[in-house]
């Protein structure tokens, strides 16, 4: 159990006592208790939420076991399974739970990993530019814009995607031959893995840029000046000193960005294709045009059906998986930072 204690540091000898308010205000002790109680409330709330989600999702895991994460058998698709669960008979003995969510898991992984990989490269380069190369005048505009972008609601990105990018991809990249080649198996119409990854990258990059910029700014001047004095040019100093020392911050940025990408629902529900399909990398170019539907988007698309008992359980199961992945992400981030501590690198 976590004990929460925010004790005041001891007052140094000779320091003046806190001025006595004329109206009786709150003493430090009371503030401490109130804040402590608040902190504990938050903790209780989070624990309660995790228990609630898991308890509700449990029947779905119990009935499917590890096959929950597997590939649907035979001709069945995960979407058909979801339909069957929704149309379960009304009696509890006959509830339908069979579900194999590999396509959704794969879709979640592809969109998140794709966006984070592209995003981190872009963010590192952008951060280096902002910190080291950009003229101050440019920075004055660039930095506020980056921070503003980080706060844009995802539904706006979704709208841009569905109104601009999806039709564009449909017109430019998707030919009728492509559509006919998959007729009856897939509907290829522009909303795709490609658009999902592109928009997700744009969405998560600003957070990463902001974090990495802060880290690069925090590098002690003596380190970079030392390197410069040894004859390294600015790019080399960045690459060999500043970025190296900022690795923990880059990891933190990746973790935060992945968490946002995994949990992104509305935007992906709008542009990713709304099809429980697992894109196959062996399909070549088609791979990028194939539709996906990650867990979070599946929850959004099916939220109407929560009151149907087995269907609600299934949706909670998706939520439970998302919660666990968030937990594992922060654990992985923590673990990745450990080796760096040996070099005395602090974030």
């Amino acid at each position: 159990m976590v004990t929460v204690s925010y004790r005041q540091p001891a007052r140094p000898q000779g320091a003046p006592a806190a001025p006595v308010a004329r109206r009786r205000g709150w003493s430090d002790q009371r503030v401490e208790r109130v804040l402590g109680a608040l902190a504990v409330t938050v903790l209780v709330f989070i624990v309660g939420m995790v228990i609630f989600v898991f308890a509700n999702g449990w029947p779905s895991f119990r009935e499917n076991g590890l096959a929950w994460f597997g590939d649907p058998p035979g001709d069945l698709t995960v979407d058909q399974q979801i339909f069957d669960i929704f149309n379960s008979p009304a009696r509890e003995e006959f509830y339908e739970y069979a579900l194999n969510t590999w396509p959704l898991l794969w879709g979640t992984f592809l969109s998140t990993a794709g966006a984070v990989v592209f995003g981190v490269v872009f963010a590192v380069l952008a951060a280096v530019f902002i910190v080291e190369f950009a003229p101050p005048a440019v920075n004055k505009v660039l930095e506020p814009v980056v921070r503003l972008l980080a706060a844009v609601p995802s539904v706006i990105y979704g709208l841009i995607g569905i109104l601009v990018l999806v039709p564009l991809v449909d017109r430019v990249l998707v030919t009728d031959e492509i559509k006919d080649s998959v007729a009856g198996v897939l509907t290829i119409d522009g909303s795709s893995l490609l658009v999902a990854v592109v928009i997700l990258t744009v969405m998560i990059s600003p957070i990463m840029i902001a974090i990495i910029v802060d880290a690069l700014r925090g590098i002690p001047r003596t380190w970079t000046e030392g390197a410069a004095a040894l004859g390294a040019n600015r790019w080399r100093v960045m690459w060999t000193v500043s970025l190296r020392a900022s690795r923990p911050a880059i990891i933190a940025a990746v973790v935060l960005a992945s968490a946002r990408a995994i949990g992104e629902a509305i935007m992906l529900s709008m542009v990713a294709g709304s099809s429980g399909f697992a894109p196959n990398p062996l399909d070549g170019f088609l791979f990028f045009l194939e539709p996906i539907r990650p867990y979070a988007a599946t929850i959004v698309d099916n939220r109407e059906g929560l009151t149907v008992a087995p269907f609600g359980d299934t949706i909670y199961a998706f939520a439970a998986v998302l919660l666990v992945s968030a937990l594992f992400l922060s654990l992985a981030g923590w673990a990745a930072k450990q080796p760096l501590k040996r070099y005395g690198v602090q974030v």
Binding site: I82, N87, A90, V182, S274, S275, V300, E304, T307
Partner: protein, 252 residues
């Protein structure tokens, strides 16, 4: 401090006054069709404002609604299908609105008529040439489409499963190969095909000649009485019909 105390006193007074009112008001429990559910919720909100009647509305498919009503588990069941032979005895269906589903294509592809056969061929994936848009599992429109157009076949997994009528309309509007199905209210800017030779219009749906339309019902055990009867009267009234008219073919 004084203000806080005043506020607390006010709170207690209000809750004491409110408690008997809440205890007196009847509660109507409903379950059933996901198609009727949004309509029932809208009607219930309006009726609650007028009479203070409380509602608890659960969804779970028409058959759940009929079965629950027959067993007396709920005050009213909701059904988006007509009464059928196998239904339990002693229940009454009250028609409250109608719902029509139109098959739509992009304006660039002016299909004037679809037969049931053609719709089935496209939506089971046997015939290509279309980008197929459908609705996600909990959608009432999806349920109705399955029963009125597709039955006994199963929709192809190639279909994009979108979250709302509006999304389907938007997707078909921008895609020249698009085909979809939407409720009557969402056909703007689209080519609305006749189905089995009958136009998908409010008038044809009202008269019942359009084969893609169906009745929406409240179901009660025996004759509806008390609060339930009042609610059904409200649903069929001019006020209730104007609420239904937003997305359905109203009773009046």
């Amino acid at each position: 401090m004084r203000k806080t105390r005043l506020f607390l006193t006010a709170l207690v007074v209000v809750s004491v006054l409110a408690a008997p009112a809440g205890a007196n008001a009847a509660t109507i429990v409903m379950s059933g069709s996901t198609t009727v559910y949004p309509l029932a919720v809208d009607l219930a909100k309006a009726y609650n404002r007028r009479t203070g009647t409380k509602f608890r509305i659960l969804q779970g498919g028409s058959d759940v609604g009929v079965a629950d009503a027959a067993r007396g588990r709920v005050t009213l069941g909701m059904s988006s299908r007509d009464p059928k032979a196998g239904d339990p005895g002693g229940i009454t269906f009250y028609r409250i609105a109608r719902d029509a589903i139109c098959v739509v294509t992009n304006r660039a592809r002016r299909v004037s008529n679809f037969s049931r056969r053609q719709v089935q061929a496209i939506y089971t994936g046997r015939v290509g040439g279309y980008d197929i848009f459908a609705r996600s599992a909990p959608s009432g429109t999806q349920d109705a489409f399955q029963k009125l157009f597709l039955d006994p076949f199963r929709q192809t997994s190639a279909a994009r499963l979108l979250g709302s009528n509006g999304q389907v309309a938007q997707a078909v509007r921008r895609n020249r190969r698009g085909i979809g199905y939407v409720s009557l209210a969402f056909t703007g800017g689209l080519n609305v095909a006749r189905y089995q030779g009958v136009g998908c219009t409010l008038r044809k749906a009202k008269s019942g000649t359009y084969p893609g339309s169906r009745n929406l019902y409240f179901v009660s055990r025996g004759q509806a009485g008390g609060a339930a009867a009042g609610f059904i009267r409200f649903a069929r009234s001019r006020a209730g019909s104007s609420i239904a008219a937003r997305n359905y073919v109203p009773f009046r």
